[in-house]
């Protein structure tokens, strides 16, 4: 049931407004409509209150802190206006962290969508082994970030399994690549973890969406002589478009919020070259106790993610020709 139909069934219009009746018999209706208008809000009130307390309030506080040279003890803190933001724009390390977050986002989002969709297509057909493979691909998603980050750190260590496989087994390298010693190879290792851990999640969403692809349309296309690729492009993709949009937006947000894997695999090293925005923010706030600057970085990250999400929704909607959600 879409939001619009839900609104209609509850006696409101699409914008959530209560329709105003102009004839006297509508009085009774109006009262019930008003009641019906309040009811949904009562249902979401507990969740909203929790959201306001645990998300909105801290967000507002962080926003407030970002205008201060914050010293933990309020009386010692000084209002400095936009200085923390100016500092961020002039801080080379902020830009390096932002570019690393962007690189991580690009290098993880695309493979997660492509590979996730490919696996979902393979597993959409019924077969005896299908449930087993679904579980196997989904397993990394439910495994702790801490555990898999440490696991990947060992895999990519100088004498880890990756070097052993590439060097001693496949003879593709000399087996002594110091993966975590260089910005690019370390980012690659971190992205590999992100992709491996995330594929199962996008696969699950796509699998659910693929159930909704009309079989009649696929069969009709087949009878019309459309090959597999044409059927996929003309029937399957439009049918799963909302899922594709959802997965993309969520993965982009998740990509910019990468923290645990970087913190545990490289600690932002060597010399801060693999820092992403959140590890940089964390070190400013909790190691240097510079909560004002840390908050400014967090606010900037929120703005970036918000803008990117809006842009994606617009682009996808335009391509789809109508509101996808």
């Amino acid at each position: 049931m879409t939001i619009t139909t839900l609104g209609e069934s509850l006696g409101t219009d699409a914008a959530g407004q209560v329709p105003v009746a102009s004839v006297p018999p509508a009085r009774q209706r109006r009262r019930s409509a008003t009641r019906a208008g309040i009811v949904p809000y009562l249902f979401i009130a507990p969740g909203l209150a929790l959201f306001a307390l645990t998300v909105l309030y801290p967000t507002f506080q962080a926003f407030q802190l970002s205008f201060f040279d914050w010293k933990l003890v309020a009386s010692a803190s000084k209002f400095i206006g936009l200085d923390n933001y100016v500092r961020a724009f002039q801080d080379d390390h902020f830009w390096l962290s932002l570019s690393n977050s962007g690189i991580y986002m690009v290098l993880t989002v695309v493979p997660q969508i492509v590979i996730g969709l490919a696996i979902a297509l393979l597993l959409a057909r019924k077969s005896p082994t299908q449930p087993l493979f679904r579980v196997l691909f989904y397993l990394p998603v439910v495994t702790s970030w801490v555990v898999v980050s440490l696991l990947f750190r060992f895999l990519f260590s100088d004498d880890g399994l990756i070097n052993f496989t590439l060097g001693d087994f496949l003879h593709l390298t000399d087996g002594s690549t110091p993966w975590l010693a260089d910005r690019w190879t370390a980012l690659l290792a971190i992205c590999a973890l992100g992709v491996w851990k995330g594929i199962g999640w996008s696969m699950m969403i796509f699998l659910a969406a693929l159930q909704g692809v009309p079989t009649a349309l696929l069969e009709a296309a087949e009878m019309d002589g459309a090959n597999r690729w044409q059927r996929f492009r003309a029937v399957t993709v439009p049918a799963i478009w909302p899922a594709l949009l959802f997965v993309t937006v969520m993965l982009v947000i998740g990509g910019f919020n990468v923290f645990v894997s970087v913190y545990l695999m490289t600690g932002g090293g060597p010399a801060g070259r693999t820092d992403v925005l959140l590890t940089y923010m964390y070190s400013q706030a909790f190691e240097n106790l510079d909560f004002g600057y840390g908050s400014a970085i967090a606010v900037l990250l929120t703005i970036i993610v918000f803008v990117l999400s809006v842009v994606q929704l617009r682009v996808f909607r335009d391509r789809n020709g109508e509101g996808a959600l």
Partner: protein, 425 residues
């Protein structure tokens, strides 16, 4: 409501006046000492699941103190070390700090700067006497803007650690005692697959022993400038020696931040590395994980400045929000006694009191090198931005090790950035 506020304001004003005039404890608090009080003490004695230290504290030391002071109850709260700074930070913000904290020595200036600690050198009439008994390096970590905000509680330092196998491979009869010995050993180790030295970074904890032993300095004695010191000729020469060894493959890439390099804790017993610098806790770690490994401890190799290491450890600090400051100061005095200090030695804590050094070595012989090293060991920059200094050193020195900038340039840049931090004081 108004009345209680007035009383509170008067009490705060009175206590401030007492602290400011340095006579807070002249008469003691004997007048009110009959009233039972409970003081809270936060620390990480139980860190890492090894409860030996916490057991000594809870089962022996605190009961002994309480027996001597029947009106004082000490409530010890163990906080894992990794969480302690964050917990202290949020508690300071919420004005909910305990009476006493066992603080990492790098945190003392941070919290003193925030105004949440009591300057003990003003509040305790016997402070000087207690301070004089401690090792000067570790005492200096409590100094902030002319006042001491804590007393050393336990200490440690880094020494050179090697193994017989490494010495044999390097063709040495004894651990390298000088920079020259090290460079000579590097030549012998070439081609053996064993690196001469390994460390986990280039922060102040890592690089300071080299700089000081080489006769250089990080700042002037008054901590006003790093330029002319950190980029001085002796420091440049020492770091250049390390860079040359690194580029010859004699220092592990762990020093430049390779998280995938074999750790020093594994690399020394595994014969990947010939020497490392580390602290007394390694003995217990190796005893558990590499029971056959016999570490050999030796002083930091000497350069033009002699053999100088870096001080680590914890200080005990009293919070300004404590309502039982006299009782808390009594406990601080107790931590400086032979009973308290020596009870923790067998659990791997080094005493901070100079006079107990011999007794410490008699109790735990392998601590001799550490005890001797502490006599000359120095503290890192005791400023609130200590962690930023580490970041600067790492960021500027890694390119020098990689050969993309000269050592002089790298140290010059680091000095300029540290000068900016010092100017904020």
């Amino acid at each position: 409501m108004k009345r209680s506020r007035l009383i509170a304001a008067t009490a705060v004003a009175a206590s401030l006046a007492l602290v400011a005039t340095g006579c807070a404890a002249t008469g003691g608090d004997e007048g009110s000492s009959d009233e039972p009080v409970t003081i809270t003490f936060w620390g990480s004695y139980g860190n890492g699941g090894n409860s030996a230290q916490q057991d000594v504290l809870n089962d022996t030391l605190i009961p002994a103190f309480e027996a001597e002071h029947p009106n004082i109850t000490v409530q010890y709260v163990d906080v894992p070390y990794d969480d302690l700074l964050q917990k202290l930070t949020t508690s300071a913000a919420g004005d909910e700090l305990p009476d006493l904290v066992r603080a990492d020595l790098g945190w003392v200036p941070k919290f003193a700067d925030l105004g949440v600690l009591v300057p003990l050198s003003q509040a305790m009439p016997d402070f000087q006497e207690l301070a004089d008994a401690t090792f000067p390096g570790v005492l200096s970590t409590n100094l902030w803007k002319g006042d001491y905000y804590g007393l050393p509680l336990d200490t440690n330092t880094r020494v050179l650690i090697t193994s017989q196998a490494a010495l044999d491979a390097a063709g040495l009869d004894a651990p390298p005692a000088t920079f020259a010995d090290l460079e000579k050993a590097a030549g012998t180790l070439e081609g053996t697959g064993i690196s001469l030295f390994a460390d986990g970074g280039l922060g102040a904890w890592n690089i300071s022993p080299w700089i000081w032993s080489g006769g250089g300095a990080i700042t002037d004695d008054d901590m006003t400038t790093a330029s002319g010191y950190l980029d001085g000729a002796k420091t440049v020469a020492t770091v250049q020696m390390l860079v040359d060894l690194y580029q010859a493959g004699q220092i592990s890439t762990g020093i430049t931040g390779n998280a995938g390099a074999t750790s020093t804790a594994e690399g020394l017993p595994g014969n990947n590395y010939a020497t490392i610098f580390d602290g007394p806790w390694m003995n217990g770690i190796w005893a558990d994980q590499f029971p056959d490994f016999q570490p050999i401890y030796a002083p930091i190799p000497a350069g033009d400045g002699g053999s100088v290491s870096v001080v680590g450890g914890e200080d005990i600090v009293l919070t300004a929000s404590s309502k039982h400051q006299e009782a808390a100061m009594e406990f601080i005095r107790f931590t400086q006694t032979e009973q308290f200090q020596m009870a923790l030695v067998p659990t791997g804590q080094l005493t901070v009191i100079k006079d107990f050094g011999d007794e410490q070595v008699a109790t735990v012989p392998y601590l001799k090198v550490f005890t001797d090293q502490l006599a000359t060991a120095k503290a890192r920059l005791a400023i609130p931005q200590g962690s930023e200094v580490d970041t600067i050193l790492n960021e500027e020195l890694v390119p020098a090790f990689e050969g993309t900038v000269t050592v002089k340039e790298a140290l010059g840049n680091a000095a300029k950035r540290i000068d900016e931090l010092l100017a904020e004081q």
